[in-house]
Symmetry: C2
């Protein structure tokens, strides 16, 4: 089977590489913090000392890291993928970096004689573990075709969105809609609590109808319980929406709700919730209500108002 | 079977009364515009010249009209339900009027020797026709119990939210979350269009994951197609959110996204979309983008940018 390199053993990359191994692909892994390669090595992966070394024997190179500078470094940097890759091979980046960075890295790849597909994912660590990710791909149809067997080992819904960058743009749409939707849920629960309603009954009555959503089903109970561990991290959601704003400002798009949501996420980051899941947005709502002592919420994330929302 | 009066033969009340008839309940109907009683009479309903007359032979009286003054008139007015109802009988109002009006009408009923349950619904005309409504009920448990066989003929999910007014408060939560969610969808589609993405592919990639919602599945394709007929009317959604704001202001709740959504809905009302479905929110997004000629959108609702979103 196609020999694969996988760069980035984070909360997403590690289980994704694990699923490639389970599907029978020979995989060479690399991570900046080398210890993180060990669980994959235990599953049968080879290890490489640099992205360049990992790429040297691979037919397809996958990268999945945190932000634009990380992707630039692991692909275009002095020890990056393009320093080791064989001519004509395919690089598939699964990080969320926005369309502009994707197009720039695609140019970088083309100049080095490699091909590039952007294929950011949605579904979180759980989707990565269960191989149920949504994968939004941008690039040449033939390149995506080549990557498809490997992508199918990692995700369930794989959509070819268009040329390079459109996978990233589609992922940004996903982040806009998702973030505005979990705020919709938090705003409703804030009203529910203030009106003295039973939160669980509110979710039961509202969640199954036209106001229902994945966020309502999955995050509303955790908002009620002030269960802020796990889930998609506030700091990453904020990063993604800042990528959105950079694009929106260039395109002249107001995106009024998204801009408001960024303010709430920034408050969360400034008040100790950056590493919490996005369900902690309810803490920002409790704070802006101004009826909860702000210090309590600021100093003890997850402790404030834990009895009910 | 329990003899029922049903006041209000609108887009919701008529099919709801029809389902009571289908379930075998004897039903007497009344509507201010009397012709609207005719289709129900054809299904076997008796007709009454006033709410008072309809209520006079009924064990349970249902009301389903548009707004607070309408409910006050049909229940407490000079020809209203309470002028005809027998002592100790039950009035169930299924309109959306907010918790304060519900409590005030409950007092009015109690003083007239009748009992009151607020039971607003979610699910729209289609849910009313298919008897799949969500019904959010507030009142005494024994009163709800008495109404339950009839409610089961009209809805699927029936939640007892608490004392009188809590059904209304829960419905307002539903309206907050629903409206903010369809704006989340519209905001994402606006970005998608500006980024030059294929809208149908965006919906495919985004709708099945963590950003998915009833609104994404049901309204996003209609937003793309500029199909603004049918669905829940902008004017009613705006009315419901104004009920939300009246409560929120008293409770000191900012509800920042809801306030923003009301501005968008007000723009829609001012620009000929009041009788369109809430999917026409996409027209407000196109207008605030400022790259579409406003006059085109204002004068020809549904005609602007019809090629794609």
């Amino acid at each position: 089977m196609t020999s694969i390199a996988f760069i980035g053993m984070g909360a997403m990359g590690a289980p994704m590489a694990g699923n490639l191994l389970k599907a029978g692909f020979p995989v060479t892994v690399h991570n900046r913090t080398r210890e993180r390669e060990e669980p994959l090595a235990a599953l049968g992966a080879a290890r490489a000392a640099s992205p360049a070394e990992a790429a040297s024997q691979a037919v397809i190179v996958f990268t999945c890291v945190s932000d634009v500078p990380d992707v630039e470094e692991v692909i275009c940097g002095p020890r990056g993928v393009l320093q080791g890759i064989q001519p004509g091979r395919l690089v598939v980046d699964m990080s969320t970096i926005g369309p502009k960075a994707a197009r720039s890295i695609a140019t970088c790849c083309r100049e080095a004689g490699a091909r590039f597909v952007d294929a950011p994912v949605s579904g979180g660590p759980l989707g990565a573990q269960q191989a149920t990710l949504s994968i939004m791909a941008g690039g040449e149809a033939a390149d995506l075709e080549e990557a498809l067997p490997a992508l199918r080992a990692m995700g369930k819904t794989i959509v070819h969105c268009g040329p390079v960058g459109t996978g990233q743009a589609t992922k940004l749409v996903n982040q806009i809609v998702g973030a505005c939707t979990f705020c919709a849920v938090a705003e409703g629960l804030t009203f529910s609590r203030a009106a003295g309603l039973d939160g669980a009954k509110t979710i039961e009555a509202v969640g199954g109808g036209a106001a229902g959503s994945w966020m309502m089903t999955n995050l509303a109970p955790r908002m009620l319980a002030h269960d802020f561990e796990g889930g998609f991290k506030v700091s990453l959601q904020a990063k993604d929406l800042r990528l959105v704003l950079a694009e929106a400002d260039e395109m002249g798009l107001p995106l009024p709700i998204t801009r408001l949501v960024i303010q709430l996420l920034t408050w969360l980051e400034d008040n100790g919730h950056g590493q919490h899941g996005t369900q902690s947005i309810i803490a920002a709502y409790e704070a802006i209500r101004g009826k909860e002592p702000q210090s309590k919420i600021g100093l003890e994330p997850g402790g404030a108002g834990g009895e009910a929302v």
